[in-house]
């Protein structure tokens, strides 16, 4: 393992969408090294906080040496990060974990709920760069909380909102299932790769829908979010229940895992901010 702590600098801070901050970090080695779906542990210095905060890279640009992180404020640590501005120093540990498997020829559907969309700009860019056909399905509470479709150049972007203020009114999982047009032919949906990230209830709804429509769970990759301590496999805090029994560590075997490896009945939610 050759992960090291590195001081980096905030190059830019902006509002990505309502309620979400985007920090752009200048750190060329990390921008080159990170793969889509991998994460970093960001050190925070808010009073009385202790642990680093794990965030997936939203995107990276090796040419300019920049990495983007998109997040909302859910606690003291994320509030401290959100208050950083251009020129401030930030201590990064990473890139960590396993990203999405983006190789292959099949069309890809990226489906995200809430802040789960934060991992996808770089993922979609990498998929498009490989010549793959990409559909982005994004769900949010309101239209203002959607990441603009311009962040997914080359992809077919469709949205859902809980309040109906944009796109389909309802769950983003509904949006997906409408493409599972019955009757389900053998090949059609097996020929799609589904990449997802979002709150646990959304993920379990997605898994249920996939089972109902006989979509193989092995074709679904999930970017897991669990409470996390070290991020490198020493604290054993980020356990996720494995279908085969026991637990996998989100930080080492994930965060991106095939959905058929997880015991979704035992999956819990909740993490510190």
């Amino acid at each position: 393992m050759s992960v090291a702590v590195a001081p980096a600098v905030v190059a830019e801070r902006s509002v990505a969408m309502a309620g979400a901050v985007e920090l752009v970090i200048f750190h060329p080695p990390s921008a080159v090294a990170v793969a889509p779906g991998q994460f970093f542990q960001l050190a925070v210095s808010a009073p009385h906080t202790l642990l680093r905060r794990p965030y997936s890279a939203a995107w990276s640009d090796p040419a300019s040496g920049r990495i983007g992180f998109i997040f909302n404020v859910v606690g003291a640590g994320s509030a401290w990060l959100a208050a950083l501005g251009e020129g401030d120093e930030l201590d990064l540990l990473g890139p960590l974990g396993r990203g999405f498997d983006i190789d292959g020829q099949r069309p890809a559907i990226c489906i995200a709920g809430g802040l789960g969309i934060a991992v996808f700009p770089g993922v979609v860019h990498a998929l498009i760069a490989r010549g793959r056909s990409v559909m982005v399905l994004q769900g949010a509470r309101t239209a203002a909380q959607l990441l603009p479709a311009s962040r997914f150049a080359g992809a077919d972007v469709q949205v859902s909102t809980d309040d109906g203020s944009a796109g389909h009114s309802g769950s983003v999982v509904d949006l997906l299932t409408q493409y599972f047009a019955p009757p389900l032919g053998e090949g059609r949906l097996g020929a799609v790769d589904i990449l997802t990230c979002g709150p646990t209830p959304m993920l379990t709804a997605l898994i249920d829908a996939a089972r109902r429509h006989e979509i193989p769970l092995s074709s679904i990759q999930v970017a897991l979010e669990t409470p996390m301590g070290c991020g490198v496999g020493t604290c054993l805090g980020c356990a996720a229940p494995r279908l085969a029994g026991g637990y996998l560590l989100t930080c080492q075997e994930g965060p991106c895992v095939r959905a058929d490896r997880i015991d979704w009945g035992l999956m819990t939610d909740g993490f510190h901010g």
Binding site: M1, V3, A4, L50, R52, T226, V232, T234, C235
Partner: protein, 310 residues
């Protein structure tokens, strides 16, 4: 400039460390996964708690951050002693850094079996008996009763020549009584302390955050408590005391050494600042140089009987 001060530590039975800065059990895995740091500052690695059979650990959620601290209820997830002896120890044997295996169990027989399996295995530099893990069904009871603590120490002592450290729990009325009991039973050193039992509740979900309800509290939040435990134990026992609990900075480590610890273990800080060990080693060195002290044995602010002998 005077000669470089001597930071070596003798924990007894031939276990000599080049540095008083160790890493605590459960915060460094088995030495293979931690981030890249300069390990020349480390005196020893203490492994994750290891049991006779592999254990899957507790269901999530296993950890929670609390003010300046962290609760954990991992539940001794580990691959079992056989895997440790067959796969990990041969790699440790090639390192220039001693690895001490933290041993856990539910019964005296289990501790003895694990100790036996590790005895004579190249790469295993010593044992640290975890008689105080708060996150499994039994385990803790050995550490809270001087008689049981002595019994498990004595039984392990009888089957191994390895240096034997006993890690004390602070969740007791009289930690000195337990320390004295394990010293009399043959421990070469004690680590003080393991985590404090604590809890946190998610007020929105109306349930404890950690799935087991309670967990072990570590981090800066417990440092003053740990320091006081070390202060008490070091005044009473005649074996080296390893101070552990919330150490984050060089001054934190110096406080423990001044209180009478022969060495220190870094725990939760390893998750946050992997470079802390090197900084703490450098800070201790600078402190000794500034005061013209020849070695760390000159640090305790009261006479410490254990250190007078080594």
């Amino acid at each position: 400039m005077a000669e470089r001060p001597d930071l070596t530590v003798d924990l007894g039975r031939g276990l000599c460390l080049r540095s008083p800065v160790m890493v605590a059990s459960g915060t460094f895995g088995y030495g293979f996964d931690a981030p890249e740091v300069d390990r020349s500052a480390l005196g020893a690695i203490v492994s994750k708690g290891t049991t006779l059979r592999p254990r899957e650990g507790n269901a999530p959620i296993r950890i929670a951050e609390t003010p300046s601290g962290m609760l954990n209820a991992i539940g001794l997830q580990n691959p079992g002693v056989d895997h440790v002896a067959r796969v990990y120890a041969p790699q440790w044997a090639t390192w220039d850094l001693p690895v001490i295996v933290n041993v856990a169990g539910d019964s005296v027989e289990e501790y003895v079996a694990v100790a036996r399996r590790l005895s004579g295995v190249a790469g295993v530099a010593g044992l640290e008996l975890n008689i105080s893990c708060p996150n499994v069904e039994s385990g803790l009871q050995f550490g809270i009763d001087p008689v049981l603590a002595a019994a498990v120490t004595h039984a392990v002592r009888a089957v191994t020549e390895l240096p034997l450290i006993v890690k004390l729990t602070p969740n007791v009325t009289d930690i000195v009584a337990v320390a004295r009991a394990v010293e009399d039973a043959g421990a070469d050193a004690v680590s003080a302390i393991n985590t404090y039992v604590g809890m946190a509740i998610d007020v929105r979900r109306r349930r404890p955050i950690v799935s087991r309800g309670s967990g072990g509290l570590s981090g800066p939040a417990i440092k003053p408590l740990a320091l006081h435990a070390v202060w008490q134990v070091a005044a009473d026992v005649h074996i080296p005391v390893i101070g552990v609990g919330g150490i984050t900075t060089p001054d934190d480590a110096l406080e423990f050494l001044l209180a009478g610890a022969a060495a220190v273990q870094l725990g939760t800080v390893n998750y946050v600042r992997p470079q802390a060990a090197a900084e703490i080693h450098a800070g201790i060195t600078a402190y000794l140089v500034q005061r013209g002290l020849p070695d760390i044995r000159a640090l305790p602010i009261r006479p410490v009987s254990a250190l007078a002998h080594v």
